[in-house]
Amino acid sequence: MTRSYINPRSKQVISDEMQLVLLFFTISIAMLFLTYGFLKLKIYTFEESVVRIETKKVELKNSTLKMQHQIQIIEQESDRAEKVVTENSVLKESVKNLFDLVPDRITLSEVELNKNSLVMKGTTPSKEVYEFLLQAPLRSIFNNTYTSFYQAQNGWLSFVSTNTLDDEELLK
């Protein structure tokens, strides 16, 4: 016995329209979670980057400090070497000038050169020769000049000349 004009169809708990809506909702929620996951991943990546950058910064800082220390040492070396070379040259000129200062008629037997003093021992034919040829230029260089004479065996005069600088002005 037939009571309907159409064939019976199976009933669904969730209709096709509902399925479509649920699919849409599921996709929406999935997109929300994906966005959240993306943000968390990026935050993690940034934090990792910061750690890496910090490590590299420390390495670079140490490297830079090491190089700056080396630069400082090289500059100190350069300054020191230049100073030593200059001092040697000045010393050479000082000694040279000192010996050039001594006339041929006066013979030196001993010279002691200090930072602020000069002691010379030698012989001179006469006191006048010494005073005129050696003492005068010595007086122009040193603040204090003291000379003592005593008779030498060959008839000449032996002398000991002590010359100092008061204001600690160095010979160099």
Partner: protein
Amino acid sequence: MKSMKMSRQSVYLLSITIFLLIFVFLFAFFILIPSGQEYRLARNETNKHAAELSQFEQLNDDTNGQLKSLQEKHRSVINAFANTFNQAKFIAENKKYFQNLTVSKLTKVDRETPFDLYEVNATSKIESPVVFYNFLDSLNKSHWVIGVNFPIHFQKEGEFIVSSFTMRVYNLNDDINESKTAAKKENSTTPAPLKVDVNLTEE
């Protein structure tokens, strides 16, 4: 009053929609937005650190360039300071100036001076001090950084002039290893100062 009838499907749909709406709002306000702010802060922080890193790299490169330039410019000076003083070599190089050469290493008197101090006693067979001038010139071209120090003593002995003076030999090791020296002092294993006497006599 007309009663509103809704189908079961409509009730489901309405319920799910309301649920989704509430969920989206809650998720957005309590999770997504704070995460977004956290993301922005992390990105700014990273950019800030990256900028600082760039500055550090620039400074490092500049310093490296400066160091290379200085090393190139002062190569001979650096080598001279790096060379350990060799008495035998020094004597071999300078014996042409002297008849007799004695080199002895002294201990450091001044603790503030981080350099080794060597004393050189020299006897020269010369008629004029020109040889001494030549010796001073040769010192400035030697393998080490050596400065002649006061007092300088010249004494006539027969045909010769006996010259006596001290020299300061500067060595880099003490500069670089100041911290190491301190560590060594803690271990109290300081080596005994080297004392070498060399006599060369040419007849």
